[in-house]
Amino acid sequence: MVSVEGGVLRPSDDVGIAGYGVYIPIYRIKALEIARVWGKFYDHLPVEEKAVAGPDEDAVTIAIEAARYAIRRAGIRPEEIEAVYVGTESKPYAVKPCSTIVAEALGATPNVLAADYEFACKAGTEAFQTSIGLVASNMVRYAMAIGVDTAQSRPADALEYTAAAGGGAFIFTRRNCETIAYIEGSYSFVTDTPDFWRRDGDMYPSHMGRFTGEPAYFRHTTMAAKGLMSELGLRPSDFSYAVFHQPNPKFPLKLAQYLGIPLDKVKPSIVCSSIGNTYSGSSMIGLASVLDIAKPGDRILLVSYGSGAGSDAFSFVVQDAIEEKRNRAPKVSSFIYRKKEIDYSLYAKFRRKIFM
């Protein structure tokens, strides 16, 4: 990537998305059920329900499922993938990469770059930028970026209503007639902001409550989105869709208002009410929901957010190949409809909140 003054990252050669895939576990718990257990009021619950990883799932298994669908859409052989990056804050191992397991499971090993990224909920878009850079510089032909989480939350904490499981995988390559969307540029805004963290060895994260809104989420996302638009000479009206990180359904709508983007351009990507906040998976699944319905020529604004804190903004333009490729693997809506409701006791068992 060539970085110019002002901070926009614009690939020197055109880069596109060859394929994408998502995976959302089948289990759901209703926010009402969580509220019932802790004796909370039932109104103003942030989401309807959230996706819960089954007892045999973790960030690695979800990443592999999403990655296999991405390969199916891309129509390539796994050994053609020369880089696999997994962005997550739910690593099954504290030390040992997820990416090696994912790359081996896909069949991309052993001639492959592999590493894990960590930046709260924006680890996946961080992996986007690395992949785009590697492709643009001609160092690799296909690079895969995955954002996935099985988010942790302390029982009875406000996060418990939303902390969910899911992920998405995107394969980048040089723009050609088989890519489904090409990238126009990317812009990042990062500061040291202590809104949310988890210390080494702790099971659950800590957060600053209301502080997570204005100085954290809204400041970083707004600055990244405005920076991108100003550098690329684009206005909010140039975008057909906007995809924002969704910690809850309200934040992305409020952000749209700040940026002057009509709500109906944001709503198609909002899946948080039915699956919860999938952390690093959130921007990926949001972008996939838009690719599931977008038309060639549509311009998509993507803005991630990761606590700690930072935002990555991207502009994509949808290409003709989307029409055929989107049908090669299940869409986000298939995963939303595929669900089994569980109660709090099963949830506690699945998420190992019961110690035996």
Binding site: G54, P55, D56, E57, T61, Y93, A105, F335, K349
Partner: protein, 131 residues
């Protein structure tokens, strides 16, 4: 499971890699060193298809230690698209919903930990096809 045994079998666990006898064409999963049908040692790598249908199953209510979190769970024989049959756990399905003939596809899942602080084992299971 021993770390070394798990590592040696990772390709079959992750990617359903078996082998096929070059002499008589029989397919083996897990892979074999010698063909039990014709005695040939000329075997080549063979990747099994990842889709198939459930032909027979049983429900496990009393599980070995560590598997309590999964009970009740389904173990079944899956006939893959090329006719090869594989025994595996069927996941993401309730005992009351499972049925013979169900279309399934391979998925990689995590096995219960045998040892605190030990390695995490991932292996194939089958789940209903997502349309």
């Amino acid at each position: 499971m021993a770390t070394s045994a798990y590592w040696r079998t990772r390709f079959q666990r992750y990617r359903l890699i078996g082998n096929r006898c070059k002499e008589c064409g029989k397919v083996f999963f897990p892979p074999r060193f010698v063909c039990p049908a014709c005695g040939s040692v000329k075997l080549e790598e063979y990747k099994l298809p990842e889709r198939g249908k459930l032909v027979e199953y049983t429900v496990v209510y009393t599980a070995p230690k560590g598997y309590e979190v999964m009970t009740p769970y389904v173990i079944g024989i899956v006939e893959l698209e090329d006719g090869v049959r594989v025994l595996a756990q069927i996941t993401d399905v309730d005992v009351e919903d499972v049925k013979e003939g169900m279309e399934v596809e391979a998925s990689i899942r995590r096995l219960p930990e045998q040892l605190e602080g030990g390695m995490i084992c991932y292996t194939y299971k089958f789940r209903p096809v997502i349309k």
